[in-house]
């Protein structure tokens, strides 16, 4: 079974999805990610789905729930590099990924996470 690697870059966890997501892969990723956020105390999670060409409602829901889980563990999630076809599919499925932050590419995603970090430090 595929296991998606989670890379740590400073305070950010980087997940790059490069295979078609099976339901089991998605569930494992969710588990791993929750564990990693808790363990490393990361403040940001970036999920790069630029290589993902096929999504179903399950993967869409997984993105939402990962974002929810991360928020509870006080980390911001940003989904980057979504393909047009994937965006259209998700919209047609009625999934708008409420509460999930998005960015065009990894660079902008990093900026967004940086900003979120600054905002939260101001809030404290």
């Amino acid at each position: 079974m595929d296991r998606i690697p989670i890379l740590r870059m400073g305070e950010t966890l980087l997940v790059t999805i490069q295979v078609d997501m099976q339901d089991q892969t998605a569930l494992t990723l969710q588990d791993d990610l929750a564990g990693q956020i808790a363990k490393t105390g990361a403040s940001g999670v970036m999920i790069d789905i630029s290589a993902l060409e096929i999504v179903d409602s399950f993967v869409g829901r997984m993105l939402t729930s990962i974002s929810g889980i991360a928020r509870i563990l006080s980390a911001t999630t940003v989904v980057v590099g979504m393909q047009p076809a994937v965006a259209i599919t998700l919209v047609e499925l009625g999934l708008s990924l409420e509460g999930v932050r998005t960015a065009l590419n990894v660079e902008r995603g990093m900026e967004l996470l940086q900003r979120a970090r600054e905002e939260s430090s101001l809030g404290h």
Binding site: I88, L97, L104
Partner: protein, 281 residues
């Protein structure tokens, strides 16, 4: 059954030239070139008809393979006439005009045996009617093809995605928004966002005549898709009446930036992307 077609076949074989002459005389006046073209078509059609009848084709089963060559000839005829802008009426009249000379010919041939005349005329009538029917249906099909192609061209023409500024794209929507239009605009816009890496898209609906719940739903879908890609969206060109309609219909545009004009949207976009414009004087 076969016997009913024997006199018709005989007429086609022996009197081809006189029949064509009479046929052409039946047609309303046209210039010399058109007449010559019509004559060539007529003789081609008669030849194909004769061959098919000779091969034992049955006009009752006009859709069968026996009639393929006749059908092709007729299709070609209708197609060229549709392209020339002739009416369906004129095209079917051209084929139906064949009836009279063949009628006369059969009458002459079967003058001695009136009991055979009835079935022979009936078979002739069926055949020519089938030919005419086929012409009209092909004609219609060709017209529909033309209309469909024009619709597609119009669809492509009406959805340009333009770059307004570094990182700012705009789509001026013109005409009624339906699902296929929205789909097309959405795809084109998302594709351009990926290509240019633009963080902001402005959808201008100045040219959209009315906004109802369906149109609003289409717009919201586009906005959601843009957001999912990681870009932002502003809807501009909302006229006062349309703003009223949106509120009366109870459409929720919360979370979507809206501006009255494209200029306002652009200045908001520049502000969001961190540009500041100053004027010298």
């Amino acid at each position: 059954m076969k016997n009913d077609y024997a006199p018709l076949l005989g007429a086609l074989r022996d009197e081809e030239e006189p029949i064509i002459d009479e046929w052409m005389a039946e047609l309303p006046g046209a210039d010399v070139g058109a007449r010559r073209a019509a004559r060539a078509e007529a003789s081609e059609l008669l030849r194909k008809l004769r061959e098919s009848l000779q091969a034992g084709a049955d006009p009752e089963g006009f859709e069968s393979a026996d009639w393929a060559s006749v059908r092709d000839t007729l299709s070609g005829l209708s197609r060229s006439r549709a392209a020339q802008g002739q009416t369906a009426e004129a095209t079917s009249l051209f084929v139906l005009a064949l009836k009279k000379p063949l009628f006369a010919s059969l009458q002459r041939r079967l003058a001695a045996q009136p009991e055979a005349l009835g079935p022979a005329l009936w078979s002739l009538s069926t055949t020519v009617d089938r030919l005419a029917q086929h012409t009209v249906s092909t004609f219609q099909q060709v017209r529909e093809d033309i209309i469909r192609r024009q619709q597609e061209e119009l669809l492509e023409l009406s959805t340009p995605v333009v770059k307004l500024w570094e990182g700012v794209l705009a789509v001026p929507m013109i005409g009624v928004l339906d699902s296929s239009r929205t789909q097309m605009v959405m795809e084109a816009l998302l594709q351009r966002i990926v290509e240019t890496g633009s963080g902001l898209a402005i959808i201008d609906i100045t040219g959209v005549p009315t906004v109802d719940t369906l149109v609003a739903q289409h717009l919201l879908k586009t906005v959601t898709a843009i957001r999912l890609m990681g870009a932002d969206c502003i809807i501009s060109g909302i006229r006062p009446q349309i703003a009223q309609t949106i509120v009366h219909l109870g459409i929720d545009l919360q979370g979507v930036s809206t501006k009255a004009t494209l200029a306002d949207a652009l200045s908001l976009a520049l502000q969001k992307t961190g540009w500041r414009i100053t004027r010298d004087k």
